[in-house]
């Protein structure tokens, strides 16, 4: 079943038994990078393969760094597909406004801590929006869609991560955006300590440049 048709990839929800092994239960998510006709096949192949591999690696490295992500079951470099765990839960986008003040602060702090862990491990997500986060019934927050992510320890890229999340909050959760972002920053500081300040400052500076705008909704859950 097609969940989401993106600019770069299609996302499908399939039975585990159909994709991986007939003895398996439940569902899996399949992310398939689409061939682009505008570029020559040689380049298209290189790009899709590298990005598929990179995203799979980011998903596992993030998990190792203490950030919940879907388990990667299979990386198919011929079909340019990643088969991964289906996370049962709800997009943070759909619950954030409905939570009580205390719960919301807790959730946002968790998000901030997880961003800090990613950054500390040398990664950036590249597309932090509340649609790319899934909260399950235990309150665990999963980061998904690392399609624009990378290994980049620069303050600039980290600042962009924070800034994009802020923009996403402002556009979708405008009533509570300021307190939500403040809680994210509190969690980020708590986890990173002094190193957080430089990134937070950079995020502010990026905002003053006024060039980045919140990206499309691209989550698949």
């Amino acid at each position: 079943m097609l969940l989401k048709k993106g600019a770069e990839a299609n996302i499908y929800l399939e039975p585990f038994a159909k994709v991986l092994h007939r003895a398996g239960e439940g569902k899996v998510v399949v992310k398939e990078r689409i061939a682009k006709k505008y570029r020559i096949p040689a380049l298209d192949q290189i790009l899709r393969e590298a990005r598929t591999a990179l995203e799979a690696k980011l998903l596992s490295d993030a998990k190792r760094a203490g950030v919940p992500t879907p388990i990667v079951y299979e990386v198919d470099r011929i079909g340019m597909r990643i088969v991964m765990e289906f996370i049962e839960g709800r997009q943070v986008k759909l619950v954030l406004d409905k939570l009580g003040k205390g719960e919301r602060r807790k959730l946002c702090q968790t998000i901030g801590r997880q961003i800090a862990r990613l950054h500390r491990a040398g990664m950036v997500h590249g597309d932090l929006t509340t649609s790319n986060m899934i909260v399950n019934s235990d309150g665990k927050v999963y980061f998904v869609d690392f399609g624009l992510g990378g290994y980049d320890p620069s303050t600039e890229e980290r600042g962009v991560d924070l800034h994009l999340l802020r923009r996403a909050l402002q556009s979708i959760h405008f009533r509570i955006a300021d307190q939500a972002y403040a809680a994210v920053i509190a969690g980020y500081r708590e986890e990173l300590g002094k190193k957080a300040e430089e990134v937070i400052r950079r995020a502010k500076e990026i905002e003053s440049r006024g060039r980045y705008v919140a990206k499309e909704e691209r989550a698949w859950h």
């Binding site: 570029r39 006024g210 705008v213």
Partner: protein
């Protein structure tokens, strides 16, 4: 060098009956080209005279370019007036390229504009060069609200209108694509302008040589690509294959960032403009992407893709008619004037 007065009239840009016809003289001077365009308020381009400075060797030298512009200004003005068949006294408004661009070059155009405006006793308006490229494309092509890929020797941006401004949805973090192609050509001994020669050679390339493809989120980077292509040339790679690979790599990155902007904004139009818009392979790729998104694809005629004064004049009219005014003091040039800093007083959506 080109001159024209081809009388393109606009479909959707007529103003209210109460507005009298107005003639604007626009002066362009940001890089190689000095241009004077004359446009009336119905969107008719009456003249669009240009002179382009070619450095004898190496890249553009700002002061030399400025001297060239100053020396050519009078001839270009005479030519524009003659083509438009008007007298200087018929001009109601003077517009000029206030930025972004090379300092000495911008100041030359600005000085000419101030002198003319003061002498004629008419208002003066400074226009953003990048925004003017979009506005002339909207005028001549009838595009209403495109995602624009603006590619030239000095600029590389993906621009779309959103919440009252022209927002930058992607841009180069180092050298512009036109500069990348020209600099590569120069390094391998192809004379200026290198772009068209690279395109011709690329058509005969067969083997793709992998080169650095750098898209970071919405940002593009071409300096590593250029350096690597030159390095491969020195190692003895076939020049045709290299030109082919250079174009394919750079253009795929441009199209990908434009595609993201299209997906994000959900706009139904894509426009390609700037000097590099002359490249047929880039056109073909962008057109294909646009079709996949069921978006209309526009490329203004070559004359209106390159730098010229008509776009400055037309943007001057748009700004003036929307009530925008500038004092002489406010006409100081802005070398780094960003597209998203421009107050777009003439557009609501």
């Amino acid at each position: 060098m080109g001159v024209s007065g081809n009388g393109i009239s606009s479909g959707g840009h007529r103003f209210g009956i109460g507005d009298s016809l107005m003639i604007c003289l626009g002066i362009e001077g940001t890089a190689h080209t000095f241009g004077i365009g004359i446009v009336d308020s119905t969107g008719r381009v009456l003249a669009n005279a240009t002179r382009t400075y070619f450095p004898e060797q190496g890249g553009i030298h700002p002061r030399e370019a400025a001297q060239f512009h100053a020396a050519q200004a009078r001839a270009v003005l005479d030519e524009a007036l003659k083509t438009a068949q008007i007298e200087l006294g018929d001009v109601d408004l003077v517009a000029f390229s206030q930025g972004p661009g090379l300092g000495p070059v911008l100041r030359t155009a600005a000085t000419a504009a101030r002198a003319l405006a003061v002498w004629l006793g008419v208002p003066i308006i400074g226009v953003n060069h990048c925004v003017a490229h979009i506005e002339i494309g909207r005028l001549t092509e009838g595009a209403r609200d495109p995602v624009t890929l603006y590619v030239s020797g000095g600029n590389t941006q993906v621009i779309a209108f959103d919440a009252g401004r022209y927002r930058v949805f992607g841009e180069t973090i180092d050298i512009p694509i036109g500069n990348c192609l020209d600099a590569f050509a120069r390094e391998v001994g192809i004379p200026h302008p290198g772009g068209p020669a690279v395109e011709r050679l690329a058509r005969e390339g067969r083997n793709y040589i992998p080169l650095p493809y750098v898209v970071k989120g919405m940002d593009l980077s071409f300096s590593g690509l250029m350096t690597e292509a030159v390095r491969r040339y020195r190692e003895g790679a076939d020049i045709k294959d290299l030109c082919y690979s250079l174009q394919e790599t750079a253009f795929a990155a441009l199209v990908e960032v434009t595609e993201r902007a299209v997906a994000h904004t959900e706009k139904r139009e894509v426009m390609l403009t700037g000097g590099v818009a002359a490249n047929n392979r880039l056109r073909e790729m962008l057109k294909q992407m646009a079709e996949e998104h069921r978006a209309k694809f526009f490329v203004p005629p070559k004359e209106f893709c390159g730098d010229q004064g008509a776009m400055i004049a037309w943007n001057g009219i748009l700004a003036y008619r929307s009530g925008y005014r500038q004092s002489l003091r406010e006409t100081e040039v802005r070398q780094r004037w960003r597209t998203d800093e421009v107050e777009v007083t003439w557009r609501r959506s």
